[in-house]
Subunit: 343 residues, 2 copies
């Protein structure tokens, strides 16, 4: 029901995804009188693998998460998450209210043992292809111990999804030397190095974010959100500048015509929705958040992302890894770290 376009986009993307993945089944959760007319536009045997599950209520895009948590238990979001909790579904995908999705996911699915808070991870384009970055805004203040948890969760996910063994992990910082950054980031660096199981390559500065030097970049949610959204803002500025530059006179319009394929490629590069689908890691289940402005194709990427994570059982892999970690270290380090994170 969520996002800028609601069922118009999500129903069409669901139909496409069923055609792409013969093993896939989809439960469309929402107000049936909004979904049914959209479904009427699609035909084919693949729709037999689709079921509509009615939900009376909807979480508004701008609703306060705490309020949604209390008053929207009949919403499509809550019901979709319940289907995952009941193992009737293996993943939940939403283009709706991010804060509400996170709050409800924590309550309905619960956190994996040893993980304090979910983190949002997504792919970012790089010179070498793409890397992953987390947290992109699920948390505002993260302790060093939580940054370590993000590092573990992200590494497990990249290893599973991209078959990259021992992915190269970096902490986002304002310099590459040991003494740079906040006490929290430096403490996270010490914890990650002490962990031993992670392929830590050190600090990464913002200007290296898109170089592909790291497979996985870890930062707190405030910094990650601002950094990525700033890049989105720069992209918007550039698209406008290129457009006006190529329209200034007749000669330029003619060249723009000849350059159409290149300009299209550039616009695609600049499109934040291109690799759509941010994952909420740390939960006992797969939850993928689509960009609210995603179109049919891009919402399809979010479905594919969720399909892959469910197929590879990413949450269970993370759970195993964290459980091994906890068994190895005992409770001593955990409690020690919890003490530290209070400072």
């Amino acid at each position: 029901m969520g996002g800028d376009f609601g069922p118009r986009v999500t129903v069409a993307a669901a139909s496409d995804a069923l055609k792409r993945h013969p093993q896939l089944q989809i439960l469309l959760v929402g107000q049936s009188d909004a979904i049914t007319p959209q479904l009427g536009r699609h035909r084919g045997k693949h729709l037999q693998r689709l079921e509509v599950i009615h939900a009376d209520d909807v979480v508004a895009m701008d609703e306060k998460p705490s309020l949604a948590l209390r008053s929207r238990r009949d919403s499509s979001m809550w019901k979709a998450l319940e289907l995952v909790a009941q193992a009737r579904a293996q993943a939940c995908i939403s283009a709706g209210n991010t804060g509400a999705l996170m709050a409800m996911s924590r309550l309905v699915l619960g956190m994996l043992p040893g993980i304090e808070r979910p983190a949002i991870v997504a792919a970012i384009p790089t010179l070498k292809g793409y890397s992953y970055m987390l947290d992109l805004g699920a948390n505002i203040d993260s302790s060093a111990e939580q940054l370590l948890q993000f590092a573990i969760m992200g590494s497990v996910m990249v290893e599973a999804i991209d078959s990259r063994e021992r992915p190269q992990l970096a902490l986002l910082n304002v310099g590459s030397e040991d003494n740079k950054g906040t006490e929290c980031v430096r403490e996270a660096s010490r914890l990650i190095q002490a962990h031993g199981g992670l392929n830590f390559i050190g600090y990464l500065e913002g200007d290296d974010l898109f170089s592909g030097r790291a497979d996985l970049v870890v930062c707190d949610g405030f910094v990650g959100n601002v950094a990525l959204k700033s890049c989105e803002g720069l992209s918007k500025l550039l698209v406008r500048k290129v457009q006006s530059s190529f329209r200034r006179n007749l000669y330029r319009r003619f060249v723009a015509l000849l350059a159409t394929p290149m300009l299209r490629e550039l616009k695609k590069q600049l499109d934040p929705g291109r690799r759509n689908g941010a994952t909420l890691l740390g939960l006992k289940g797969v939850v993928v958040k689509s960009h609210g402005g995603a179109n049919r194709t891009y919402f399809g990427h979010a479905i594919d992302q969720a399909f892959e994570e469910a197929r590879l059982n990413v949450p269970a892999r993370i759970g195993d890894q964290v459980a091994r970690e906890m068994a190895r270290c005992g409770n001593g380090r955990q409690m020690d770290a919890a003490d530290r994170s209070k400072n």
Copy 2:
């Protein structure tokens, strides 16, 4: 002496600047045997307004600021700042080690009364022209009171330099609603609103950074540094993508030839040095930091920036504003704020 190119760039840019500004006088501080050969390449009466002041030592680009502070009192950086402290010069410009420049500036020039820490401010391109942003990395953890000080300093500077009356001021945050962000950012929002003299338009998200909605964007140095450097990283990625896109085959190379002026414009837009010259605000004197990789033209921008700030006496204006503020509120609020910032 600093930056990637040393006197080769700074001497040439100094000569150019003297031609541009008939009132300007320049003291070139550094190792005379490195400067003199470069000076030999320039001719003209304007060079009569240039003087070389020898300094034995140089601060290395990667030197720890605390070490430079103790052991580099004969360096060009220290001597140049001393010339400002002695009122023999009205501004200091350096392409050298940022951390060392900040530490030395604080010690040699001192802070304005009522300002706790310097902040780095620079212009960023927007859809409407350009805006300013601070802090870009002078500080790692900033208290709410310090963010208020950044807001006051930045507003005074934008008003003076750009003749924008009551510039629109925003706080960088992860959302636009009141309840968004860290406790520190929310407290800063309350302090700025309580101040009354600032034209505060609320929170700004990263994707609005380049829209021009705010004339001045305030954030802590960690976030500002990461956000701006990430955009620098994205720019680098895009330049490479555009280049490879326009070189893929003979047709594309031909179109690239026709599109040369537009591609040049785009490259210029993406060049982080284009509006070169970041100012260290809050000091008892003008200090401008040039990008280390600045070429002759771009280092000239930093000189122009310093010239304008000295001409308009920006530090004195900030000092007056903060003194008025302190007189208005008495010491009560200041002490209260200092208490708060300890938490």
